[in-house]
């Protein structure tokens, strides 16, 4: 299980089902089902391998190992690991995609200054 490096983070376990709006001021690891909206302005979201998120996401960085259906807006970075299944549009400054990841949607990479930034692949 690839959990965030920061010392404190909230954890939604794989048996948990949440419908609604989630917001917070700490990192979040989702291994359960979340439907609605997730807003973590200056923090990171990780969707674990068992995670199933049907929500629009706004965070500083987003790491996806499981399923995500919705728009993703990351002010810094998005990572799609090899088990990621993403359906939706992604807007970020940087994106890394592992071989095997599935993406159906738009990728819009732009720096804060408005200039495009080159993404990387793992």
């Amino acid at each position: 299980m690839d959990t965030p490096q920061t010392g404190e983070f909230a954890h939604i376990g794989k048996s948990v089902v949440i419908k609604g709006e989630l917001s917070g001021s700490e990192d979040l690891y989702v291994d359960g089902n979340v439907e609605g909206k997730i807003e973590l302005r200056n923090h990171s979201l990780t969707v674990g391998a068992n995670g199933n998120v049907k929500a629009d996401v706004s965070a500083k960085s987003v790491v996806i190992q499981g399923k995500l259906c919705g728009t993703v807006i990351a002010s810094d970075r998005v990572e799609l690991r090899k088990t990621a299944v993403v359906t939706g549009d992604v807007t970020t400054q940087r994106i890394a995609i592992e071989e095997g990841a599935f993406l159906k949607g738009k990728v819009d990479v732009e720096k804060e200054s408005g200039k495009a930034a080159a993404p990387s692949s793992s």
């Binding site: 890394a96 159906k104 738009k106 990728v107 819009d108 495009a116 080159a118 993404p119 793992s122």
Partner: protein, 230 residues
């Protein structure tokens, strides 16, 4: 009457079961005149919308977004294998529901894309989906937009390898063999899609008859590149 799984399995080559210790997927590279033409367009304008209809490719996303364009990914060949698309026609034959396929895929506003990369999709997709897909692409492309497609020539045998294409330079493509598991099969049984048909030039011209112009590029390998203008 053939089962759904039988109808799906005909899209895969017989000899390609994935087993432990099997060599890595074949890769090679080729120069692409069609991609070269598209690169000229990419370098001359900013903020173009590009639709990549092959497997998700980090290379391609990097290539297009690195130049300041928006990249859309949609693996239509994989989507066409969804068993939920199978219906029976009046004669009881199992066919793909093209209406449902287009309700779930290629859902974009009209005149949205500047560039569409079809790659080898028409050669490997079930017949009933090919024309409806091309018609939908006509709708979602901007006038003057470019569409690039690859078609096998008659020299290609039925076991021609299905490749996915990664753009590595303005006119260079990295070709990687495609293998995926049929729906309902475990990942350990990944197989290669089977070439469904070989179009002749007349068929290709008919397929794109609603487009403004068509240009053929012939190469030494058994592939014709076709660059079409909306």
């Amino acid at each position: 009457m053939a089962s759904v799984s039988d109808n799906v399995m005909k899209f895969f080559r017989r000899s390609s079961s994935q087993t432990a210790g099997e060599p890595a997927l074949r890769r090679s590279s080729r120069r692409s005149s069609g991609m070269g033409e598209i690169s000229r367009l990419l370098n001359s304008q900013e903020g173009l919308c590009v639709l990549d209809m092959g497997s998700t490719s980090a290379n391609n996303i990097r290539f297009f977004t690195g130049k300041g364009h928006k990249n859309y990914s949609e693996d239509l060949l994989f989507s066409s294998l969804d068993p939920a698309l199978r219906i029976q026609d009046r004669e009881g034959n199992s066919v793909l529901d093209s209406k449902k396929f287009l309700e779930e895929n290629l859902v974009y506003p009209n005149a949205h894309f500047d560039i569409v990369l079809c790659w080898n999709l028409p050669d490997y997709m079930e017949e009933g989906l090919v024309k409806p897909t091309i018609d939908r692409l006509w709708s979602v492309m901007k006038p003057g937009g470019y569409l690039l497609a690859f078609f096998h020539t008659r020299d290609a045998g039925p076991d021609s390898i299905c490749y996915r294409y990664h753009v590595t330079d303005s006119d260079m493509l990295d070709m990687q063999e495609v293998k995926f598991a049929a729906p309902g099969r475990p990942a350990s049984e990944k197989q290669s899609p089977r070439l469904q048909r070989v179009f002749n030039n007349r068929h290709i011209e008919n397929l794109f008859r609603d487009f403004a112009s068509i240009k053929f590029f012939l190469a030494r390998d058994a592939i014709r590149e076709v660059l079409v203008v909306r």
